[in-house]
Each structure stands twice: as structure tokens, then as C-alpha cells.
């Protein structure tokens, strides 16, 4: 998935990983390499300094519901997040058409989907008018609080 970034800078991820490994191995705090126009510098920020990643984590503690891919989309400016835990339905009943489909234009207040919680079906309304870019959940899937449901742009 290593797409070329938009700017002129090329990021050699493998090189960074390699240098990070060298820092570990050697106990160095910083490595800086310059060659012609190119320069790369990696640092631990201090000799005895580490980032806190690896506190105990048993299984990959994925949420029961959240699809892995949707994680990054939570911060998308057009994301409509679930206001509750529940099960999500894309149409008013199994025989009907979905409330919306990708590519549809919606108005603020239009129902996008339903979330059923405690036997109550809660309509989720579009917070703004726009185009339904993506629908991130499928019919009948469980969703957690804050999980992105739909992207409107």
C-alpha cells in the first residue's frame, strides 16, 4: 500500500525501520545521515527514552463490531458516527429499499439508517446535506459508540 506521497519527498520506510533497529541494537539516541541533497535523521529523543507501546495486550483487542478498515475513517470530516451501541439496519424493513446508497445525494435530516438498541429502532439522520460517499456498515451488523457509519461529503 506504499503509495507515492503527494509531496516531492520520498519516504523510505524500510530505511527508517532499519535505522530504528540500529538505534535499538547500538543503544544510540540519534542517527543522522546526509548525502548530497538527501538527509535522514531518526532519534529516540533521549538515551534512556522509549515510546510506550507495549503495555499488556492479549489478543488484538479489536472491538466486537468495528471493522478494522473503518478505524481510520472515524476522524474523517464527513463521517457520521454512531451515537449508540446497537445493530444497524440500512432499510426500514427487510423488504424495502435501503434508506440511501453510495452516490446518493441526501439532505440534512434525511434518515441514513436505523440503529436498533433495546428493541427500539433509532433513525440516524444526516447531519448535513451532501453526497453519500461511502456506507461503512452493512445491514444487520453490530456497531459500537462512535463507530463511523456513513461518509457524506
Amino acid at each position: 500500500m506504499a503509495k507515492e506521497p503527494k509531496s516531492g519527498l520520498r519516504v523510505d520506510e524500510d530505511l527508517i525501520r532499519k535505522l530504528a533497529g540500529l538505534l535499538d541494537e547500538t543503544g544510540l539516541g540519534e542517527i543522522e545521515i546526509e548525502e548530497g541533497d538527501s538527509k535522514i535523521k531518526v532519534s529516540r529523543g533521549g538515551t534512556n527514552v522509549v515510546a510506550h507501546a507495549p503495555a499488556p495486550m492479549a489478543a488484538p483487542a479489536t472491538a466486537a463490531a468495528a471493522a478494522p478498515a473503518s478505524e481510520d475513517l472515524a476522524s474523517h470530516p464527513g463521517a457520521v458516527a454512531s451515537p449508540m451501541v446497537g445493530v444497524c439496519y440500512l432499510s426500514p424493513d427487510p423488504k424495502s429499499e435501503p434508506f440511501c446508497s453510495e452516490g446518493d445525494t441526501v439532505k440534512e435530516g434525511d434518515t441514513l439508517l436505523l440503529i436498533e438498541a433495546m428493541k427500539v429502532f433509532n433513525p440516524i439522520a444526516a447531519p448535513k446535506s451532501g453526497t453519500v460517499k461511502r456506507i461503512l456498515v452493512s445491514d444487520g451488523t453490530p456497531v459500537e459508540f462512535g463507530e463511523p457509519l456513513v461518509i457524506i461529503e
Partner: protein
């Protein structure tokens, strides 16, 4: 058997319950607010569901969110921990209505014990000793004398309409009774426009002693001895121990039996605790906690039992398959509650834990969801860790506690570790000579002397 437990709580108790589940081969579901996405119990659980924003009322107190989470994860039981929804009878009822096992007592028992009046009546009827008092208003001195003799001195004369200590008078003997009775009635009239007073035994310097029980669905009840939780500040327990330095073996067995018999009579099931004030060899009912308690590990240390496991077994319908005689008490245990607070002003101190290092070695248990790099959120209770130490006797336990507190590192935020380090060097504490007022007086003296 229960196969998947949703843990409707957070922090150390969520981790505690998750550990018990894992050790029983039961799947665990953590629910969490957005503020707790990186919490240890979330990281370690088999599944996790974000149920709401940081505010507890929209997450940990949201029955709808928790039941939905149970439903989407297929949990067949819910453990409420302590606090939050643990003593909410309506929640217990809703859980049951959804066909999910509530790991705790029935909604009826929660309700019964959740109301001061019905709780006291039920306790008294079941044979639990309560503070003796006049049955209602005392209207003249002759009745006051009669009641005082029945209740036993010292007696407290309280305005029926009163509260907050106003209109309260103590009489230590019959000589003092006449004046005290008059003054109390006059003050009552002046303060509340109502001369009505009632009387009860006055407890001067009681200890807080509570008895732990386990009761199954078939009426088997055992008690697991007592905990002394007299070290309190503003009714918050700070340090607990078992056994109580104030009880001997016979007293322990006797109050234990009284409580177990009463709990059997009540038809209660699950773990429960009856709290007492204790003075001069007598016990007086305060309330019954119909849930797991923060300080349950000291009982686990001296009995070798796993209370959360027992609660889960009982909720699954398993009978208690050991008799009271098989429960043996070994040594002594003390728990220190470690809060993210200034150790002496008790100002909350949430924030980033730069470095976390728990003490280890023989006889030391730590229950905590902390880890290096964890950020203590400001939204919830300040208790962040419990240090539980066990020794073959109280002296050994105290020495071990002193050693363990020295090793405990929680860097980046203020904690109450320094308070505990000070307390366990205090002679009165070392001698077990403390009551429910002791800690506040200690802190007052300490402050007056400019922090020692």
C-alpha cells in the same frame, strides 16, 4: 455454565473480573467509554465495545448501552463490579428480563437492602444486631429514663426532624439524662419547630467491621470472616485489614454465624457484605452491600478463596460445595487503596503515568490497570491501584507492607502512597488501636503541625 461475561465496569475491578473469567475459561467482553479506549481491561479482554462518551451517565451508567453491548456480543452474563450499576435493582431486573444472568443477587434483594428503612427492618428480623433505640418519639422524661435503661448508656437524644448533628445530645448516665433530654427538646423546637425527639445508643468511638458472606441459590451460606475498614476519610475507606485487630477467634465465629444465619433466612444469593459499627464487644448493623467490594482481596488472602470465581459459579447455579468448617483463615492481610490524589490534601491528580513499577515478591498482590504511559482520565473515581499484602501474622504483614510500599513506583501523578507509608509507621496503627474517627483526627493533627 456461563460462557461469556460482559464486565459492566472499568479500572482495576474490570481487570479483576476479566482475570477470573480468563482463569475459568470464560470469554470476557469489556465495555468502555471513549476515555477508556486504552485501558488495561480493554486491552486484555477477549472483546471490547465502546459504549459511550466519557461521562459515566452516558456510558458506564447507561443501562441501554450496556444491554445493547451484551446483546451484540452475545454475552450470557453481566458482572457489574462495584459502584456504577452494581446496586441498581432496576438494572439487575432488566438484565434478567433480557435472559442474561446478573452475577449478583436478585433485584429484590438489591432493592430491599438499598433502602435504609427496609434494610434495617429486614436485618433486625433476620437476627442481625442493630443499634438499640426508642421505637419512635419519646415524649417525657419518665419514658426517656425507661428507654435509656433499656437501650443502655451512653444514649443519644436526637431531634426527630433533625439532621446534620443539630439537636443531638448525649447522656452518659441517668444523672445527665434529665438535662440532656430537656436541652435536646428545646433545641429541637428552636431549630425545627418540633419538640419530638427519639433516642438510641450512642457509639463514641466505634470501629467499622464487616462480614463477608457467600450464598448460593440452594440456601447454602458460608461466611468468610470479617474485614476491619475503620481507616476512613469522609466515609471513604483508605486501608482495610482482615482479621480485625479488635476481634478474637470466638467473636469472629459468633458474628460470622449470626450473619450467615441471617443471610440464609433472607434467601440471599451471591457475595454480600454486612457492615457493622463495633464498640465494646457489640456489633450494630449499618447496611448490607449486595455486591463485590473493593476490599474483597483481603478476604481472599486469608481464606485462599477467589470471590469473583465464586460469584460466577453461584450465578451459574453451582452450589457451594464446601462447609463452613472447611474455610480456614490463614495469617493476616492488609489492603492499601492507592488513589490518584495528593496524599494529604486529597486533591485529584489525574494525568500521564510516566513510569509504573509494581512491587513483587512473596505475599504481595497488586490489582491495578495502570501501566507505563497510561493516562489516568479525570472523569472517574480516583482509585488506581490496590496493594494487598499477606503475612503469617499482623506483624509480618505490616513489615511486608512497608517493604512493598517502598518498591511501588507510580511516576508522573500524585498518589496516596506517601500517606500509607506514613500510616504504617504510626504506633497507634501498628497497635491496631484505631476507630472510624482516628484517620480524620490524625490528618487534622498532621495539618495543624504543618505536615509533621
Amino acid at each position: 455454565m456461563i460462557e461469556k461475561v460482559l464486565i459492566a465496569n472499568r479500572g482495576e475491578i474490570a481487570l479483576r473480573i476479566m482475570r477470573a473469567c480468563r482463569e475459568m475459561g470464560i470469554q470476557s467482553v469489556a465495555v468502555h467509554s471513549t476515555a477508556d479506549a486504552n485501558a488495561m481491561h480493554v486491552r486484555l479482554a477477549d472483546e471490547s465495545v465502546c459504549i459511550g462518551p466519557p461521562a459515566a451517565k452516558d456510558s458506564y451508567l447507561s443501562t441501554a448501552a450496556i444491554l445493547s453491548a451484551a446483546s451484540i456480543t452475545g454475552a450470557d452474563a453481566i458482572h457489574p463490579g462495584y459502584g456504577f450499576l452494581s446496586e441498581n435493582a432496576d438494572f439487575a431486573e432488566m438484565v434478567a428480563e433480557h435472559g442474561i444472568k446478573f452475577i449478583g443477587p436478585t433485584a429484590d434483594h438489591i432493592r430491599l437492602m438499598g433502602d435504609k428503612i427496609t434494610a434495617k427492618q429486614a436485618a433486625r428480623d433476620a437476627g442481625i444486631p442493630c443499634v438499640p433505640g426508642s421505637d419512635g418519639e419519646v415524649t417525657d422524661f419518665e419514658h426517656a429514663k425507661k428507654w435509656a435503661n433499656e437501650i443502655g448508656y451512653p444514649v443519644l437524644i436526637k431531634a426527630a426532624a433533625g439532621g446534620g448533628g443539630r439537636g443531638m445530645k448525649v447522656a452518659k448516665s441517668e444523672e445527665e439524662l434529665h438535662d440532656a433530654f430537656d436541652v435536646a427538646r428545646n433545641e429541637a423546637e428552636a431549630s425545627f419547630g418540633n419538640r419530638a425527639v427519639y433516642m438510641e445508643r450512642y457509639l463514641d468511638r466505634p470501629r467499622h467491621i464487616e462480614v463477608q458472606v457467600l450464598a448460593d441459590q440452594e440456601g447454602n451460606v458460608v461466611h468468610l470472616g470479617e474485614r476491619d475498614c475503620s481507616l476512613q476519610r469522609r466515609h471513604q475507606k483508605i486501608l482495610e485489614e482482615s482479621p480485625s485487630p479488635a476481634l478474637n477467634k470466638d467473636e469472629r465465629a459468633q458474628i460470622g454465624k449470626t450473619v450467615a444465619d441471617a443471610v440464609r433466612k433472607l434467601g440471599y444469593q451471591s457475595a454480600g457484605t454486612i457492615e457493622f459499627l463495633y464498640e465494646n464487644g457489640e456489633f450494630f448493623f449499618i447496611e448490607m452491600n449486595t455486591r463485590l467490594q473493593v476490599e474483597h482481596p483481603v478476604t481472599e488472602a486469608v481464606t485462599g478463596m477467589d470471590l469473583v470465581r465464586e460469584m460466577i459459579r453461584i450465578a451459574s447455579g453451582h452450589p457451594i460445595d464446601y462447609s463452613q468448617d472447611e474455610i480456614r483463615f490463614h495469617g493476616h492481610s492488609i489492603e492499601c487503596r492507592i488513589n490518584a490524589e495528593d496524599p494529604f490534601t486529597f486533591a485529584p491528580s489525574p494525568g500521564m503515568v510516566n513510569e509504573y513499577h509494581a512491587p513483587g515478591g512473596l505475599g504481595v498482590r497488586v490489582d491495578s490497570g495502570l501501566y507505563s504511559g497510561y493516562r489516568v482520565p479525570p472523569h472517574y473515581d480516583s482509585m488506581i491501584a490496590k496493594l494487598i499484602v499477606h503475612g503469617r501474622n499482623r506483624g509480618e504483614c505490616l513489615m511486608r507492607l512497608r517493604r512493598a510500599l517502598t518498591e511501588f513506583v507510580i511516576d508522573g501523578i500524585k498518589t496516596t502512597i506517601p500517606l500509607h507509608q506514613e500510616l504504617i509507621l504510626n504506633d497507634e496503627f501498628i497497635n491496631g488501636a484505631y476507630d472510624i474517627h482516628w484517620l480524620e483526627e490524625y490528618l487534622k493533627k498532621r495539618e495543624a503541625s504543618g505536615g509533621r
